[in-house]
Symmetry: C2
Subunit: 218 residues, 2 copies
Amino acid sequence: MGNNKELTSVSKATIGRLPAYHRYLKEKQAQGERTIASTAIAEDLHLNAVQVRKDLSLISTTAGKPKRGFDVDELIADIDRFLGYDNVSDAVLVGAGGLGSALAGYGGFKNYGLNIVAAFDADPSRIGRTVGGVHVFDARETASLVRRLNVRIGILAVPKEAAQGAADALVAGGVRAIWNFAPVHLSLPENIAVKNEDMAASLAILSKRLAEILSHEK
Amino acid sequence: MGNNKELTSVSKATIGRLPAYHRYLKEKQAQGERTIASTAIAEDLHLNAVQVRKDLSLISTTAGKPKRGFDVDELIADIDRFLGYDNVSDAVLVGAGGLGSALAGYGGFKNYGLNIVAAFDADPSRIGRTVGGVHVFDARETASLVRRLNVRIGILAVPKEAAQGAADALVAGGVRAIWNFAPVHLSLPENIAVKNEDMAASLAILSKRLAEILSHEK
């Protein structure tokens, strides 16, 4: 998944844009394009051209040529390598309800280097079933099974009341990164990576933008 | 949903933190707390105390008292008013598959001022059914029904191939804000608010943090 030198020199904002470049380049590759100019990428993705050039120069092993632009295949390989897409990581899912099932069934994660190998739920009616091709185990087995499977990434899709307990079980089993879809702040050791998906925060930002647009029209 | 003066003086980062304050204050209210110090909020939510004080002073009508702190009830009412939680907006959902059903079934959005009144899908096997208590209409009726319902917010939970067409139909019906869960950049008029939920970007950031943590331990 890259080395530490790369991490400290590339910002979170750049990393966040890489999947969009990747998707875009894959489309161009499928259309038979061999090279692409950073200005074209910037225009199509509605980004600043200077920013695009800077982002790509940080992760690319071969700089874009002034006249010809970037080699599409090479650039895809660079992003694959940088984001670890060529090195799929196993993950477990806790919570096999509506959202958890949707996440398990979303085949796209494999393209992004994530492979969900097991799911857990506390609800007896869900245990033993399959969601999105993933077997649902008893939540009480989380720590022991995670340890046995040697999994480092856990996805939390449980109600907020159950989130801290589920996170503790994941950490007890050896998980080091938690993707948290529960609307709650988790108390975790310093050396655990957490990415919160705060839908309420997103919605608040969207609602405010809408209010701004509508107020300008009055 | 507040006025324009408020919007220009409050950053996106602050707006994004308000739902977390709101959840926290509701918990404290339920526990019978009447007042709370900004330092306590900061500690419990793992935020900087200066930041918390600044965030709350921007939206609070009554500043916190140096000795007693903020009035919990008043602060909740201030956030409700600022984020429009006291003024629920109707929304439509396009895409009633796994993710769409999960979103429709997530009762929590009502607490955040969002009420999903109708869903649309192009799949005949889904049309006429109900997801999360919401009726699924034929996607071809999107523009006309959105116009009739006078809805301003659309949620896109369709595959990426269908996203642009679905967004166009929403805009044709009068939608002014789109919450986009499809992994694609939408081409939309300037006066349409968009909030993209880019799961791939989130996952890339989490994977990189995990790689950093693991590399430090080598």
